[in-house]
């Protein structure tokens, strides 16, 4: 299974990179690396349309001092095994700037390769704390960390949902388990001890035994750390067995494909998402530009990707297309982007990032919870 998927991904990435490399060697190439295939490719879409829009708009305004930006799509399929191949491909092709990767598990091994080879990486989506904890010089992100999101979720659970029996489930991946542990710590600190903390296998489909177990444990609030395909199945099978509980998940579940899998069972799910910047008045023109192309800018990673490209472009404009200088510049300056004024810490994280709790509905809309 894994083998064939990897081979295809590599083939596609190679083909794309090859074509782009020959056509436009003189311009500034930005690799946009994320899942183009696989079960969470929807998030890759968000990243691609966000980055593409930013690149188009910058080029329409004449590029960076006349140099055009060129997007090179790379597919890591959200696989930690595939992302190093993609990263090496980027390095070998001489691409100096990366917007990506998306999944934390896939980002971690890639980040090391970029840092060793002086390639600048800005992830618009990977939230696992460990990614920026190794003292890398070239690794940044335009999204918050699990240590911001997890506690936000944990506090919300304790203060708003007031669980009698809190259960925490995760998918054993860097992202899912990482955030689930953050939620557990926050809840424990507030005196709520989870009755259950268990991992499921990514790609599993029948969770009925686990649902029965949750029912037996009397869980009334269930936090799931992971992505939407598994949560969708959990919700659907929970409804099937009549499990009465409030569910909550991180931004990796906030996707309308969740509704396609779980149907009505999603109603009332709580999700922590980056604040929705598409409703900000100053972004109206940008939102319209997306809508004119028939694209939806409200996905959690669309504008973070847009911002990642913008930050890179602004820095190149100031110090030239040398990634080491760009990294330096990024740490010392702030940038005006659609997701607010961004500044970076020495580790490459955002100085300030807000996660907001939303309630998810069966028509895939969401409302902020006060």
């Amino acid at each position: 299974m894994k083998l064939s998927r990897n081979l295809l991904g590599i083939a596609v990435a190679t083909a794309l990179a090859g074509v782009a490399g020959q056509a436009v060697a003189a311009d500034i190439r930005i690799a946009v690396a994320g899942p183009v295939t696989g079960p969470v490719a929807q998030y890759g879409d968000m990243q691609m349309i966000g980055a593409e829009m930013a690149i188009e708009q910058i080029n329409a305004k004449g590029g960076i001092k006349g140099d055009k930006l060129v997007m090179v799509k790379m597919d890591d399929a959200c696989e930690p095994k595939q992302s190093p191949t993609v990263a090496n491909q980027v390095v070998n092709d001489g691409i100096k700037f990366v917007v990506g990767h998306l999944c934390s598990g896939a980002t971690k091994p890639a980040a090391k390769i970029y840092d060793e080879n002086d390639v600048l990486m800005v992830s618009p989506a990977a939230t696992n704390d460990a990614i920026t904890a190794e003292g890398f010089k070239m690794v940044f992100r335009t999204i918050g960390k699990d240590s911001q999101q997890g506690p936000a979720a944990g506090k919300f659970i304790v203060s708003h949902l007031k669980p009698k029996a809190l259960a925490i489930i995760h998918d054993k991946q860097s992202y899912g388990q990482g955030i689930a542990e953050q939620v557990r710590e926050t809840a424990m600190a507030a005196g709520v001890k989870p009755v259950m903390f268990e991992g499921i296998s990514k790609g599993d489909t029948d969770f009925s035994a686990l649902i029965t177990k949750l029912k037996t444990a009397g869980a009334d609030v269930i936090y799931y750390g992971g992505y939407h395909p598994e949560l969708g199945l959990l919700l659907r099978q929970a409804k099937e067995q009549g499990l009465q509980a409030k569910w909550m998940g991180p931004e990796g579940v906030g996707n309308k494909d969740l509704n396609a899998i779980a149907g009505d069972a999603v109603e009332g799910l709580y999700v922590t998402l980056p604040q929705d910047f598409t409703t900000e008045p100053e972004n109206a023109a940008l939102v319209k530009a997306f809508k004119d192309k028939g694209q939806d800018p409200s996905g959690p990673f669309v504008l973070t990707s847009y911002a990642a490209v913008e930050v890179i472009a602004d820095s190149i404009k100031a110090v030239g297309a040398d990634p080491v200088k760009v990294a330096d510049y990024m740490r010392k300056h702030t940038f005006k982007t659609p997701i607010g004024e961004l500044g970076f810490t020495a580790s490459g994280d955002l100085k300030d990032f807000k996660f907001v709790v939303y309630e998810w509905h069966k028509d895939a809309s969401k409302t902020a919870v006060k």
Binding site: L8, A41, A209, I261
Partner: protein, 309 residues
């Protein structure tokens, strides 16, 4: 622990529905092995194709009319899935295995692995690598009994899985034991050369086993599409491994063994998941397999094979 009984009942229901699907797929492995002594590694992909055809048909029928009665949509999807998947099963044998008949055993095995990779990528290119979802079509429960404050329920989709599997197993057992073709199958599995000499068209029998395996896998695929509601081109791999395990557990080559193995594997996984941390369910399931093979190398219902070394 006074409420252990209803929990056990619910877990048995969960395990049975999971095991039923394993059993449906395991039949395909075991029949092919019983007749030609080969592991058809592409069988998991045949199941995946069944699921795809089923889901695509359900979506097409549902979208086309909207008002079409559910029973009609489902039986339509089932029939189309069975026919199309059977055609794939037949073709796979014809293209990848028949030309290799009589070659060393390793050769068709490699051909099977190649076929498996081919089919995975073929579906991925045709249907996209992403998940395809079906909304819950059969909501509701067949029954829900409140036992000491703990509701034990059997949903309609899971009931359908269990009863459809049971019916197919009975039908297959009768067909193999009573019909002319069934007798030919048994003859071939005992001694292919002799069966050939006695005028049995062995190629036809082999094609038949592939088609039967594909039909059962197709039913399993459609049922999974209905109950789980999420498929992608890679589901055949894990399902295939599990079903193959079930076939080995029950004794590969034995049809009742495949049924028993499937149900046993489903129940083991479910109970491991219920009473240990969920992470351990595969450890327990495959640990059991190793144990059983240590003490009964031919599986639970398998017979020692003197001829094939």
């Amino acid at each position: 622990m006074n409420d252990l009984l209803p929990v056990l009942a619910q877990q048995v229901i969960n395990g049975l529905s999971l095991g039923s699907i394993y059993a449906l797929i395991a039949i395909g492995y075991t029949m092919v092995y019983g007749i030609i002594g080969m592991i058809n590694f592409a069988h998991g992909e045949i199941y995946m194709i069944g699921a795809y055809v089923g889901v695509v048909t359900i979506t097409a029928l549902g979208a086309a009319s909207g008002a079409m009665p559910l029973a009609l949509v489902l039986s339509g999807a089932l029939i189309i899935a069975v026919v199309v998947t059977a055609a794939y099963g037949w073709t796979v044998e014809r293209v990848a295995y028949r030309p290799l008949r009589g070659s060393p055993r390793l050769v068709p095995l490699i051909s099977a692995i190649g076929m498996s990779i081919f089919l995975q990528n073929y579906v991925q290119l045709g249907q996209g690598a992403r998940d395809i979802s079906v909304p819950p079509l059969l909501p509701g429960n067949l029954f829900e009994i409140d036992v000491e404050g703990f509701p034990v329920s059997l949903s309609l989709t899971r009931a359908l899985i269990i009863f459809a599997t049971l019916a197919l197993m009975i039908a297959l057992t009768l067909y193999i034991s009573r019909s002319r073709m069934g007798r030919a199958c048994r003859a071939c599995s005992q001694d292919m050369g002799m069966a050939n000499l006695l005028g049995i068209d062995t190629n036809r029998v082999i094609s038949f086993t592939f088609v039967v395996g594909a039909i059962l896998a197709a039913v399993g695929g459609v049922l999974i599409g209905l109950s789980i509601g999420k498929i992608n081109p890679f589901i055949g791999f894990v399902a295939g491994i599990k079903a193959f395990t079930a076939a080995v557990l029950g004794g590969i080559g034995s049809i009742p063994g495949a049924m028993l193995g499937g149900v046993l594997l489903g129940l083991t996984e479910t109970f491991a998941s219920a009473f240990l941390p969920t992470e351990y369910k595969d450890v327990v399931a495959f640990g059991l397999l190793v144990l059983i093979l240590l003490f009964r190398p031919t599986g639970l219902l398998g017979t020692p094979d003197v001829e094939k070394v």
